[in-house]
């Protein structure tokens, strides 16, 4: 079998059946585009919620009459804990200033005060890995055991809710992508299958004329690859168009969209995925050629 001739055959077939090949190309393109956008949306929801727990902090109230060196002891003890990312000491004067700024519309609350009623506090930021309802509770218990720590405050409920929201989004997102992909791979497959179904006669005649399996297969695989490549390129163009024409334009009037992440790297693989889909689809559609 001469390789150049199988390329010729593939090209002939591609140009001869323009309409039906265009359908396949666009089917694969829309399939890849749909999966890409789905992945893109899930990725962004994940990214947006991922940064939330980073803002999470735990507050430790220290004993009223605590000494300077006792404070250092607490800090050292906490720094040793691997879950702690950073730690800020807030003397009671600063705490009062902060509280006042928070209640800025009600500063008169503090008008009658002559003594600072607030304790010294330590604000902990945790490592991302450590932010789970369980881990946080454990850390809280440990902190309470340190001498000089009177009380520990953290948003238990908020944390639990956030955590299950994130887990849920991921689960549903992945379920969606799996459903989408299954549906879409099926559609691709059936398009290719129908495409080749039409050529059963042709393949049969080729066989009867003495063509080897390789001779019959090669043009089909090349054709499948070319169709897949075209589909991949169009979907690549589509996803970039989606980002630049829709999201970036939206972000001018709606600043929320400035936060959208566009990981262009993985999308550049789309043409490759297209080729793979096309060639695999063609191979499966052809099936085992029997003589």
């Amino acid at each position: 079998m001469s390789l150049p001739y199988s390329v010729t055959l593939a090209l002939q077939s591609l140009t001869r059946e323009k309409w039906i090949n265009l359908i396949s190309v666009l089917t694969i393109a829309s399939a890849l585009l749909i999966i890409s956008i789905a992945a893109f949306v899930v990725y962004n929801i994940d990214a947006a919620t991922r940064s939330l727990p980073e803002r999470f902090s735990m507050v430790l109230y220290l004993d009223d009459d605590i000494q300077k060196d006792r404070i250092d002891g607490v800090i050292t003890a906490l720094r040793r804990n691997s879950a702690v990312r950073s730690l800020r000491y807030i003397p009671k004067e600063e705490a009062l200033r902060e509280l006042k700024s928070v209640l800025k519309n009600s500063t008169y609350v503090f008008e009658g005060l002559d003594e600072n009623p607030l304790p010294d506090t330590l604000e902990l930021k945790l490592r991302k890995e450590a932010i789970g309802p369980e881990a946080v509770r454990r850390l809280s218990d440990e902190a309470l055991k340190i001498k000089g720590v009177r009380e520990v405050d953290y948003g238990e409920k908020f944390l639990a809710a956030l955590h299950s929201l994130r887990a849920g989004t991921k689960t549903v997102g992945i379920a969606l992508i799996v459903i989408l992909s299954t549906g879409i791979i099926f559609v691709c497959y059936s398009t290719v299958k129908i495409l080749f179904y039409r050529r059963k006669e042709e393949i049969e005649t080729f066989k009867l004329l003495g063509a080897t399996r390789a001779f019959i297969r090669a043009p089909f695989l090349i054709e499948g690859g070319a169709i897949g490549l075209a589909g991949g390129l169009i979907s690549l163009f589509g996803i970039f168009a989606f980002y630049y024409a829709i999201l970036l334009r939206l972000s001018v009037t709606m600043p929320v969209f400035k936060a959208v992440l566009f990981p262009s790297g993985p999308f550049l693989l789309l043409p490759g995925v297209g080729i793979f889909l096309g060639v695999a689809g063609a191979a499966i559609a052809l099936g085992r050629l029997r003589y």
Binding site: S2, Y5, Q12, E202, F206, L208, G210, R213, R290, Y291
Partner: protein, 222 residues
Amino acid sequence: MDLIQFQNVGKDYDNQTALRDVTLSVGKGEMIFITGPSGSGKTTLLKLVYLAEKPDRGAIYVGDVETETLRESQIPLLRRTIGVVFQDFRLLDNRNVFENIAIALRIRGIAEKEVKTKVFDTLKMVNLRHKADAYPRTLSGGEQQRVVIARAIVADPTVLLADEPTGNLDPGTAEGVMRTFKEINARGTTVLIATHNRELYRNTGRRVFTLDSGSLVGEVLG
């Protein structure tokens, strides 16, 4: 030496016996005819030679090999030594006449330059040089039949199987085709022709086998 041998061959389709206990042999370089009424098994007999069907009983030898023992990967190689004029044409609708004939050479890996000359030479033999660019659907019945004939002979096969090759041809054109077959045969190709057209074998002096309901009922000289 006999090129093609049938030994007590039988062939059944789902609910129909197409061939019964057929024994015959065709020598290398011979030209024979197969005749018989509609549905008597002529096409089936030829199909067994180019392995489009498998026998249910008996053995078939083509060259030295028993066809049943052939590995799948060798079937294409055997088929490349055979040219077939299919009764139902089997032209590729989406390729023009030139390509339909050229495909037989390309399958055999013949160089492009040779393909061109061979195809055009063969087209001239069947008087279709002017239809090289036409598509099968735009040809008349007889023109289509001649394209099939051209495809069968273009690659100088060792065996030529022609199934009702003149069914759509006027007597003049049919005569031309038969002349071509005889020339090919004279150059050493073994030729088997299934036909109902008595004119083809009348006064040829060749062996004529007659089938009836799948059985070989006669062998005469035409």
